[in-house]
Amino acid sequence: MSNSAGLFSSSLGRKYLMALTGLFLCSFLVIHLIGNVALFTDPVQFNEYTRFMSSNPLIRIMEIVLVVGFLTHIIDAILLTKANKAAQPVKYAMDKKKSTWYSRNMGLTGTIILVFLIIHLQSFWYGYKFGVIEMAEDSSGAAIKDMYTMVLAAFSQWWYAAIYVVGMILLGTHLSHGFQSAFQSMGLRHKKYTPTIQKVGTAFALAMTLGFISFPIYFYIIQL
Amino acid sequence: MKDLFDNIPDGPLADKWTKYKAEAKLVNPSNRRNIDIIVVGTGLAGGAAAASLGEMGFNVKAFCFQDSPRRAHSIAAQGGINAAKNYQNDGDSTYRLFYDTIKGGDYRSREANVYRLAEVSANIIDQCVAQGVPFAREYGGLLDNRSFGGVQVQRTFYAKGQTGQQLLIGAYQALSRQIHKGTVTMYNRHEMMEIVKIDGKARGIIARNLITGAVERHSAHAVVVASGGYGNVFFLSTNAMGSNVTAAWKSYKSGAHFANSCYVQIHPTCIPVTGDHQSKLTLMSESLRNDGRIWVPKKKEDSQAIAKGEKTALDIAEDDRDYYLERRYPAFGNLVPRDVASRAAKERCDAGFGVNKTGQAVFLDFADAIARFGKDGVEARYGNLFQMYEKITAENPYEMPMKIYPAIHYTMGGVWVDYNLQTAVPGLFAAGEANFSDHGANRLGASALMQGLADGYFVLPYTISNYLADDIRTGAISTEHTEFEQAEKNVQDRLDFFMNNKGTKTVDYFHKKLGKVMWEKCGMARNKQGLEEAIVEIKAIRDEFWKDVKIPGVQNSFNQELEKAGRVADFIELGDLMCRDALNREESCGGHFREEHRTEEGEAMRNDDDYAYVAAWKYKGDNETPELHKEDLKFENIELKQRSYK
């Protein structure tokens, strides 16, 4: 086997890939969350932000990169899970693990997050691009797609808001293992710095979860 | 009878090995791959030998009964390995290590072998460090040493309490490298069942595949037996459960001599037996005696109260404690050699002062050490040992003195070999604890690892080449020889017997029974009457065994009871020989203490005039008395002295 060509087909190579795509997706989450803060400002600003995000060529390119990142993360996860299942074909009659539930169920949380993602994209990305959408005015008075109202309408339904809450909690558990795990996979571990990385990971997971949850809850409550 | 040739080279002691190496015959590299060598056992001696012979280009077949060569019982050695490096500048030298080893062995070992051992000891450390053995180091990055076993220099290299493990892993790694290169073929989970001799030479073995039960023939131009010691003859010992004498015993039965079998080492600091269910004894490192004080109550009623659980050690006032080692041996105190400390414990317990339910335990007390160094200081020194003790006994040794008792630990006796480590059977070599060669009647601490590696890395490669130089035209040895057929049939018959015997008792039943006789009558102290009784009792056990042993399961499968049956059958025969050897040796020396031979103060008394010889026994047939052959020990460089620790 050629070592460099084999890098990403080896078990460790796949770990690196999981780690790198995972961290990349984390960076996306940060951007997404910051952008969403516009929802708390005013409808016009948010709608302009949405228009910018869907028309800027650089962002469009990044969108493709993002899709590739997601697909790689998902396909790699499927390959790894398949190999891992095959490595332990017989299960124990009695099994007590001391690790956290979420660290052992990244595949499950990942899958649910994927389902959530599809729902989310269907509602907003697809809805925005191809659906029937009301128009509003931007700051200069020109017509603009009214994403804000769309969000408002979506989160007025309790079950829809609930899907978001559950999805984001699972994302939080996924991140709390995934973030620090990525550093370990890349070999970045140090007695002095690793505890900090772990704390940052937990804080990051918490920030993302609370941040993203705040939108459905806020918009559901104000429309009660 | 005298037919034992030690084959020691001429010349001054210090030059013998150099001269031997210079004159030894060699095998051309291109011929080596056509020569097969079988190595039985993959501990320090066997593993090191197999790896080194493989590196030289011989075609090696290595056998072990464990599931991996890394599990050999060398792994359990704790303390360290001696080497005359003199890194501490305390006056150590090859000669001093040689002298200490001869003296420690109570003047019952061969000068030339021991000198060679001391000479190659330094190479061992170099070799192991080059292999990546993580010895303890000082802050400057250089190797650390400690003193061990009551010698006056710091020459013991160590890796925490896991020196044996680290050295064995080093040898295992070297062996693995050769397996990968194809020079060594590894046979895990295989038991050596018989030596095959053709025209008087060792030419192969019969082995049983322990997974499938298949009986296999393996041929070679030379066979090395490095199968360890026979301490399990006592059933309870610090040996691994699988440690056995079978390979060495088959060597004996095929014509090699079995020497000095009565020399067994009893380690004073083991965790006492708690009941009949006990399968194994656990050693606590000897280093504990550096700071722990050994005592029993002065009053019998206190001992009895402690045994019943009515009192604890803490209830016994200082004045009512008998620090018997300090009392009897003021110069060395708690640091007297292993045999002396062990016998003293037995003496107190036999007199009724033992401090547990079985009456066989003494206290090892760290209260003074804790007062002196603080609990943290003691923890830094012995933390892992204290933890191990607490895990096994559920008692906290920081608060309550440890209870200890001696246990069988190492066997100095073994297959008789000459200077080449070759037995009386040409082409059959024995190395490590399996041979008798270097420790005399008592082994010094941290010398077992040294001997195993010396034999495997630095002695056998020369001596086997020297032997095989005459074999380059022999060609591959066929396993179709009638001798192979016969040997295989013997093995098969024995297996068939076990499987078809409609007995009622398990193998362990006999093993425990044998162990009890051996421990009581051929253990720490022996006497004529006891030994004679033991021989009769062992005969009875043997008869009962062959009549009433019960083996479940089938032969052609994984059958652990069948494995044990073969081993115990050999232990029973060995037990008989040990008693005969102990009976013959009318003196007390090292690990052999005859109650009839002691000074007025009760100390061991050697008889150099009549017994400065190796007692090598030759097998004469199953129901025949073995024949004693004597190899006189010549001391040309050392003056014989009585050991004193007063």
């Binding site: 070592n3 078990s11 460790l12 190579g13 770990k15 891992n84 095959a86 490595a87 332990q88 017989v90 124990y92 009659a93 009695m94 099994d95 007590k96 693990k97 660290s103 052992r104 370990q184 996979s185 890349m186 070999g187 571990r189 | 080194s52 590196e55 599931d67 991996s68 019982h73 792994i75 490096k85 890194y87 170099d126 460090v129 080059a130 292999q131 993580p134 303890a136 180091r137 000082e138 802050y139 190797l143 890796a159 680290q166 295992y172 790694q173 990968h180 895990n188 610090t238 691994a240 708690t274 269910h277 006990q278 656990t282 895990k391 096994i392 559920a394 009622t504 479940p552 499968s557 994984f558």
Partner: protein, 250 residues
């Protein structure tokens, strides 16, 4: 003590295997777990049944031969010990104890609780050593000082006993902790540094080939390791392998 055992019985590799229940009475809390198994086997043999096959040898926690998944954990409920160091006082009177073999595709069952761990040997054979021949002329042991911190870390990694508890407890049956322990042990010492990268490439490749799973960083291996081998070693292996893969000209 009275104990109910639920033991995995499997007569050879081809047998399907099943859990069989045994009632044990009069068990002393001072017995080790394996001594309790000895008692069970004595009873089975006397009754004419096949005893339970299990691996064991030194019975002092260093050879790595004993295995067994006891009540859902490799080497049983206590930390930092092997099965042979587990005592019955760790259980309560009336307990039910599950005893199963280590489970992994790479560790096929031989019989009952005995599994074949030669896959570990195979990993070592492709590079878990320093390529040095025996000779009386290797350089003096003290000619190359090793920083104490490195030597200590190498030692900690080298205390691995190759028992396979890490593989057994890992939900993916990954051998990363075992493999990493050897890679770290040797990479941290100057003697082993020379071939560190080649070693990492070869050992990881072999590990993958043998059917061990991947690491998902759950950390169960570290918790269950009887010698407390740290996940730090896996991180070191990850670094070594990455560097080696990028640098390798093959």
């Amino acid at each position: 003590m009275n104990i109910t055992l639920k033991v995995w019985r499997q007569n050879g590799a081809d047998d399907k295997g099943r859990i069989v229940e045994y009632k044990m009475s009069d068990i002393s809390p001072d017995m080790s777990f394996l001594e309790m198994m000895d008692v069970l086997n004595e009873e089975l043999i006397t009754k004419g049944d096949d005893p339970v096959a299990f691996d064991h040898d030194c019975r002092e926690g260093i050879c790595g031969m004993c295995s067994m998944y006891i009540n859902g954990e490799p080497h049983g409920p206590e930390d930092l010990i092997t099965t042979c160091q587990l005592h019955m006082r760790s259980f309560k009177d009336g307990d039910t104890i599950y005893v199963e073999p280590f489970r992994a595709a790479a560790f096929p069952v031989i019989k009952d609780l005995v599994v074949d761990r030669t896959a570990f040997d195979a990993i070592i054979q492709v590079g878990g050593y320093v390529s040095v021949n025996t000779s009386g002329n290797t350089q003096d042991a003290n000619s190359l000082p090793v920083p104490k911190a490195d030597a200590d870390k190498a030692f900690d990694a080298a205390t691995c006993i190759g028992c396979g508890a890490c593989v057994a407890t890992c939900k993916n049956s990954s051998a990363m902790l075992f493999t990493a322990a050897k890679i770290s042990h040797l990479a941290l010492l100057p003697q082993g540094k020379v071939e560190a990268q080649e070693r990492a490439l070869n050992m990881v490749e072999k590990m993958d080939e043998l059917g061990f799973g991947n690491c998902t960083n759950t950390g169960d291996c570290e918790v269950q390791c009887p010698k407390g081998i740290s996940l730090e070693n896996i991180a070191l292996m990850n670094r070594e392998f990455l560097g080696a893969s990028l640098k390798s000209e093959k």
